[in-house]
C-alpha cells in the first residue's frame, strides 16, 4: 500500500516534468522536413523512455499536455485530433512497460527489436489510421492532404523512436543495477 502511494506521486510528477520536457523539445529541437506541420520530432524519441519508466498514464498524459501546451503557444489553439492521437501513442508505449522491464537493467537485443516492431505498428495505427481520419471527420480537410501528412509523420516518428528512443532506452538501462548481479561469496 505504502509503495503504491509513493508510485502515484511519482506518476504525477513524471507527468508534469515529462510534459515540460516534451514541450521544450518540441519547441526548440525540431528539424523541419518541408511538408507542412510535420517535422523530425525529438520529443517523440523521449516518449519510449518516459513510458518504460513511469507507465502508460504518465506517458500518455505527459504527451497530451506537452503537445497541447506547445500548440497553444505556437498556433494559438491546439489541433485536437493530433494532440489526442499523440496521447494515445504514449499510452500504447506505456503498455509495453512490463515486456521491456527496463528497471531490471538487462535489455536484450530481442526485446529492443520487439519494441521497435511494436512502435512502428502503434505509430501506423495512430498517424496513418486515426489522426487523418479524425481530421477528415472533424476538420473536413481534403483526405489526400491529411493522409500524406499522416504517412510522413508515421515514418518520421517511427524513425525518431527507433533511433533516439532506442539510444535512450539502452543508456538508461545501463544506469540500472542488474538483477542478480550480486553473488554470495563462497
Amino acid at each position: 500500500m505504502k509503495k503504491k502511494d509513493n508510485n502515484s506521486v511519482q506518476v504525477v510528477v513524471a507527468t508534469g516534468i515529462g510534459a515540460a520536457i516534451i514541450f521544450v523539445l518540441m519547441k526548440f529541437i525540431a528539424i523541419p522536413t518541408g511538408i507542412s506541420d510535420t517535422q523530425v520530432n525529438v520529443a517523440e524519441g523521449f516518449l519510449p523512455l518516459l513510458a518504460a519508466i513511469y507507465g502508460p498514464v504518465a506517458a500518455g498524459l505527459a504527451m497530451f499536455i506537452g503537445h497541447a501546451l506547445n500548440d497553444f503557444v505556437t498556433y494559438g489553439s491546439p489541433w485536437w485530433t493530433w494532440v489526442i492521437v499523440d496521447g494515445l501513442v504514449g499510452v500504447a508505449f506505456g503498455l509495453f512497460k512490463r515486456q521491456l522491464d527496463i528497471q531490471s537493467g538487462s535489455l536484450s537485443v530481442a526485446k529492443l527489436v520487439l519494441f521497435n516492431v511494436y512502435q512502428v505498428v502503434v505509430n501506423f495505427i495512430g498517424w496513418v489510421l486515426l489522426a487523418p481520419t479524425g481530421d477528415v471527420l472533424i476538420y473536413h480537410e481534403p483526405a489526400s492532404k491529411v493522409y500524406l501528412q499522416g504517412i510522413t509523420t508515421w515514418i518520421l516518428n517511427s524513425a525518431s523512436v527507433a533511433i533516439i528512443g532506442t539510444i535512450l532506452l539502452v543508456l538508461y538501462a545501463k544506469t540500472r543495477t542488474k538483477r542478480g548481479s550480486l553473488k554470495k561469496e563462497k
Binding site: 504525477v12 515540460a20 523521449f46 506537452g66 498556433y75 481534403p142
Partner: protein, 278 residues
C-alpha cells in the same frame, strides 16, 4: 529570445483578468469545440468578431503577441495553399454546385466560388480561437489555472501535473540553453548550417544530459511531495481558487447562448455546412 517564444501571464486589471479561471476555461473549450465542428461562415465570423472585441478589452499589447501572430499567419497560409493544391475541387464536392471563376470542374486545377468559401471557412477555423486562447493564456495566472482545472471536474492529481508542467517549463528551458551552449562550445553543430545527420547527432548530445538531469529532478520533486503527504486525500483545496461572482455567471450565460446558437444552426442548415449556393 525567451520572451519572444513564450507568451505568459501579465498582470492587469480588466474584467477579463477578474473573471475566474474556470469561467475562462469553460468559455475557451466550449467555443473552440463548437467552432471546430461547425462550418457556418456567419457563425464563425461572429465568434471571431466577438473574440477580437474581448481581446481589445483585455488591453493586451500587440508587441506581446506579435511573434505568435506571425507564426499563425505563416501556418494558416501554408496550410490553405496545401488544402487547395491537394483538392482544388473540394468545395464543389461539398456544396454540390459550381460557380466557376476560371477553369471548369472537369480539369484538376480550377477555382470556384464554392472552393473560395470553403477555404475562407478553413481560414476562419484556424484563426477564430486564437484571440480566445491568447486571452486565456495572458489573463490567467498559472496557479489559478490548475485550480480551475480541478474545479471543472478534472482530478486534482492531473491538475497538479499540469501545474508542475507550467512551473517547470522555464527551468527545463534554462537547462536546455545551458547544455546547448556548453555542447556547442565543445563543437557540436545544431544550427541550420549543418546537414541533417550532424544536426541529429548534435541534438542527441543535448537531450541526453537534459533528460537524465530531469529524471533526477522527477525523483527529488516526488520525494519532496511524498514527504508532504501529497495524494493522501481524495480532495484538496486550492489557495488560488476563486469564487464565482455575478460576472462569472453572466459570462457563462453568454457562452451558453453562443453555443446554443451554434447548435441551432446545425438544424437550420441541415448539417454542419452553411450553403448560400442553394
Amino acid at each position: 529570445m525567451a520572451k519572444q517564444l513564450f507568451v505568459g501571464y501579465n498582470e492587469r486589471n480588466t474584467f477579463l483578468h477578474r473573471l475566474s479561471g474556470s469561467t475562462k476555461l469553460i468559455g475557451f473549450v466550449s467555443l473552440s469545440i463548437i467552432g471546430m465542428v461547425t462550418f457556418d461562415t456567419r457563425f464563425l465570423l461572429g465568434v471571431l468578431i466577438f473574440s477580437i472585441i474581448l481581446f481589445w478589452k483585455s488591453q493586451i499589447k500587440f508587441s506581446e503577441i506579435s511573434f505568435i501572430i506571425k507564426v499563425i499567419i505563416g501556418f494558416a497560409a501554408f496550410n490553405l495553399l496545401l488544402v487547395y493544391l491537394f483538392a482544388p475541387g473540394y468545395g464543389i464536392s461539398i456544396y454540390g454546385t459550381h460557380h466557376m471563376i476560371f477553369g471548369n470542374p472537369k480539369h484538376y486545377f480550377n477555382l470556384s466560388t464554392e472552393e473560395l468559401l470553403y477555404l475562407f471557412n478553413v481560414l476562419l477555423k484556424y484563426t477564430f480561437a486564437v484571440p480566445l486562447a491568447l486571452i486565456f493564456l495572458l489573463t490567467t495566472e498559472p496557479s489559478e489555472f490548475a485550480a480551475s482545472l480541478n474545479k471543472v471536474g478534472i482530478s486534482y492529481k492531473i491538475s497538479y501535473s499540469v501545474e508542475i508542467a507550467l512551473r517547470y517549463i522555464p527551468n527545463v528551458q534554462r537547462d536546455y540553453r545551458t547544455i546547448s551552449l556548453a555542447q556547442q562550445a565543445r563543437g557540436y553543430e545544431i544550427s541550420k548550417k549543418a546537414n541533417l545527420i550532424t544536426r541529429a547527432k548534435g541534438a542527441i548530445q543535448i537531450i541526453l544530459p537534459l533528460i537524465f538531469t530531469s529524471l533526477d529532478r522527477i525523483e527529488v520533486v516526488s520525494q519532496a511531495m511524498s514527504l508532504r503527504r501529497f495524494g493522501r486525500h481524495n480532495k484538496r483545496t486550492w489557495y488560488m481558487a476563486r469564487r464565482f461572482k455575478s460576472a462569472d455567471y453572466i459570462a457563462l450565460l453568454m457562452i451558453l447562448i453562443i453555443v446554443v446558437v451554434g447548435i441551432g444552426l446545425f438544424k437550420v442548415n441541415n448539417g454542419r455546412f452553411w450553403n448560400p449556393f442553394k
